[in-house]
Symmetry: C2
Subunit: 241 residues, 2 copies
Amino acid sequence: MSDLHNPRQNHLLDALLNAEYDRLFPELELVHMPLGKVIYESGEHLKHVYFPTTCIVSLLYVTENGSSAEIAVVGNEGILGVSIFMGGDTTPSRVVVQSDGYGYRIKAHIIKNEFNRAGPVLRLLLRYTQALITQMSQTAVCNRHHSVEQQLCRWLLLSLDRLSGNELIMTQELIANMLGVRREGVTEAAGKLQRAGLIDYSRGHIKILDRPKLERRVCECYHVVKVEYDRLLPSFHAIAR
Amino acid sequence: MSDLHNPRQNHLLDALLNAEYDRLFPELELVHMPLGKVIYESGEHLKHVYFPTTCIVSLLYVTENGSSAEIAVVGNEGILGVSIFMGGDTTPSRVVVQSDGYGYRIKAHIIKNEFNRAGPVLRLLLRYTQALITQMSQTAVCNRHHSVEQQLCRWLLLSLDRLSGNELIMTQELIANMLGVRREGVTEAAGKLQRAGLIDYSRGHIKILDRPKLERRVCECYHVVKVEYDRLLPSFHAIAR
DNA sequence: TGACGTCTGTGCGATGCCGCACTTAGACTC
DNA sequence: GAGTCTAAGTGCGGCATCGCACAGACGTCA
């Protein structure tokens, strides 16, 4: 495997002790996760958990009339498929790749076995799950109280935190689906940010020009979640090792 | 202790094997949970988990400007303070009693010890936590896409499911705080439901007259969550025993 | 180079919710 | 029975977002 791809790029895997890492390593399968790929369909029985390394993935809920809303974003800080070890084996959410990249996956029964050792892996995964719960809750509040523009800022920052560069490949149409708003609403909000010099975009490419200003314009929701992630998963090494 | 109060009124406690139940029983402390009582303040270090029996409790997130939104409802089907065993020891949410009643609490370190046995109690609590995650996620979607009236129906049904009778003690002002909308918005929605003969209310007393009609008027969110709870925590006995 | 498809911008009326102010109506107290 | 308090109803202007329609603008590929 090339230097390009290394399981330790995922923060959770990187936090493991050598003993656990060595047990899991042979079971890790590198997978390409292309833009738009549906990792789990709503209600589907989950066969693997995924540890994203360079991709970003969205957890979406889709309503009966076809509209959708993003519940959470997961990148190299996290894991997909928590319901496998939480005990449900499936969830009503749909999981879609939002930014092309790679990740490692591992068969459900392997991670379950590891989890059932009730050691550092269990503790790490549960702490991550709690951070995820915070993100979901804050999303609910944000949907209720904040403007499209603020939510767009939040979304950009969430994505940026999980990327190496400062450019996103993403159309306004797709962002609108994530946020559960109209495409025109995103156009308007993005236009404002562009005019203010915070971002620059064209035809599916978004460049972040001024992150500090973006952080000042975003609603509190972004910061609340970030603080909670940092608190729960600080130096990862301190938790699991 | 009178027959009125019995820990087995809480479904999670009721699902325990005798071995686990007998270990926990001496540690259970009956507590009155009066309307409006703040069980946990946002960010506070949690000292107990609570198993509601006759009360109903709301998980709220409060924004900087003072507006709030309910993230989830917990009654005798659940437990409060999941972050204790998830590993965070605290959460950014505020937890407030929404309907007067009782519950049992247990010291944090006791439930942690039990959890760390990695047996049926752990499995039960994690499955419950997953159900809770579903409720939170669906709340986020509902906040985004559904009308105040639909959300009021959902809220009424969620409360009703956790009560013995068909009457709620709750002002429209408080409901508005839970839903994160204006009081007048609730007045309008409740007026419609009353005129349609689904409910009857006056000065803080709400009677549900026609539950089936309420279920037909509610958005899908209610049903999605209910189905998931039933799936994850079916006959509780099957899980833990 | 030209044609087509996709992405983005704009204008419009409709709507649902907001914030505020004020009224009406039960319930409780003295 | 009068006064007081709280819960609930109503009216009005404002605003954000919606749904729809259509017009440019950029890329791609023949």
